[in-house]
């Protein structure tokens, strides 16, 4: 339309039962400031709800935040929910207080990138950019 390049759309969600949304909000704002359109779904969402929203919103990537320590269960559950709903191509990225040994396991489970509290913002942004581009290319 008015601009040539399609806008990147991402969804930021927080699965699990803990009520901390600091990480998710930080991520949403950082992405917004980098020019992304960010669908924010708030806290305490089930993996199925997040997957359904991502599909309806036709996002290019999905960012998850978890501070509860339940990431090993919840992040892969979102990847599975997406596959089950017929959208395995939507890349999932995750952030939170995640120990090194879990990172490899999460990547093996299909999470394309993991961020921890020390990760600089521009690394996060460019990871989302890459993920979005790979998706629209493939």
């Amino acid at each position: 339309m008015t601009e040539k390049t399609p806008k990147k759309r991402v969804l930021v969600g927080k699965p699990g039962l803990d009520g901390h949304d600091r990480g998710a909000k930080f991520l949403a704002q950082a992405l917004r400031d980098a020019g992304f359109e960010v669908v924010y779904t708030g806290i305490r969402r089930s993996p199925e709800e997040i997957a359904a929203a991502a599909i309806q919103e036709d996002v290019d990537a999905l960012g998850l935040s978890s501070l509860s320590g339940a990431h090993m269960r919840l992040f892969p559950a979102v990847v599975e929910a997406l596959a089950k709903a017929g959208a395995p191509e939507i890349p999932v990225l995750g952030g939170g207080v995640i120990p090194d040994e879990d990172i490899l396991a999460l990547k093996a489970a299909g999470i394309v990138e993991i961020f921890t509290p020390g990760t600089p913002v521009d690394i996060i942004i460019s990871a989302f950019q890459d993920a979005c581009e790979k998706k629209s290319a493939g």
């Binding site: 008015t2 917004r32 708030g42 599909i55 036709d58």
Partner: protein, 302 residues
């Protein structure tokens, strides 16, 4: 997704195809025409389009959530288009209306789309209109457009609606007298939400006084507590009443025509803008001479 698969998905009312189709139209993709010409015009003309506007924080999304729950009791398929402003600096946006409606996320018959204004001049009306048509064509008999009632482009969106609610709440600091002229006038129904909060009765009384002044048919005022689903059934009755009046009086057709013309105009401008810009750039116009005169000449050449 190939275009064939997408069109098949739309025929099957698949939420995934709906989401994709809206993106393609929103991004001005070449496939937009194939998508838009495949739609079911009968379903589009039958659908009821409800506009919900009002200041930020009034409870529009929460109210929408309550309306969805109520309408789902009669097994209707619902479409929601929630529009939020893009940041003028980064061009990005946070689209947070879903937060209040997540209880319906896995309901296959509630199709929701968040949309950013993308700083368009007008163009938003064209793309939001297309989203309405896609949803209606995919079986959504009720479509709700939520938009913040502040900017002009957001107000234009409301023209797409058959019926418009203006949602207000006490404590938002809105002085009714000072309220943007036009905002009260576009509304078919005024909703005082947060009726559980102090000041709601006074706000409702003030509104009634304002709409009575100089009008034989004052705008109805409804009170709701969206967070507790209170007053929603009554509000829907009121909406139905206004809707049937509009159908009988020809107002509905009149609005549809006005909206349609607006959408066509919007698309004309969307299509013309890049072409004209290319033409102007190509010409390498001299700095001397009046811009308006040059514009006229370029348009005549087209």
């Amino acid at each position: 997704m190939t275009i064939d698969k997408l069109l098949k998905g739309l025929k099957a009312w698949d939420p995934r195809a709906i989401g994709r189709a809206i993106s393609l139209v929103e991004n001005g993709d070449d496939s937009a025409e194939a998508i838009l010409s495949s739609l079911d015009e009968d379903l589009i003309s039958e659908a009821t389009i409800l506009g919900i506007t009002g200041p930020p924080g009034a409870g529009k999304s929460t109210l929408t959530n309550g309306i969805i729950s109520q309408l789902r009791q009669s097994r209707k398929r619902i479409g929601i288009i929630a529009i939020d402003p893009s940041s003028p600096i980064s061009g990005g946006a946070i689209l947070g209306d879903r937060i209040r409606m997540m209880q319906h996320a896995t309901d296959q018959d509630v199709v929701m789309r968040s949309m950013a204004t993308r700083g368009r001049l007008g163009g938003l009306c064209a793309t939001a209109g297309a989203a309405v048509r896609i949803m209606a064509s995919c079986g959504c008999s009720n479509i709700i457009i939520e938009t913040v009632g502040v900017g002009q482009s957001e107000m234009d969106i409301i023209r797409l609606a058959d019926i418009t609610l203006l949602v207000l709440a006490p404590g938002l600091g809105d002085d009714i007298q000072a309220m943007k002229a036009g905002l009260l006038e576009v509304a078919d129904i005024l909703v005082v939400n947060k009726a559980d909060c102090k000041g709601a009765d006074i706000l409702a009384m003030d509104l009634e006084a304002v709409t009575r002044k100089g009008s034989a048919t004052p705008t109805p005022v409804s009170m709701t507590v969206a967070t507790e689903s209170k007053g929603i059934a009554e509000l829907l009755d009121q909406i139905e009443k206004v809707d049937s009046e509009h159908r009988d009086s020809g107002e509905r057709q009149k609005r549809r025509r006005g909206a349609h013309n607006q959408e066509v105009l919007d698309w004309c401008l969307e299509i013309l803008r890049p072409r004209l810009l290319a033409e102007i750039t190509k010409k390498g116009l001299p700095l001397l001479g009046d811009p308006r005169l040059k514009a006229k000449k370029i348009l005549e050449e087209q």
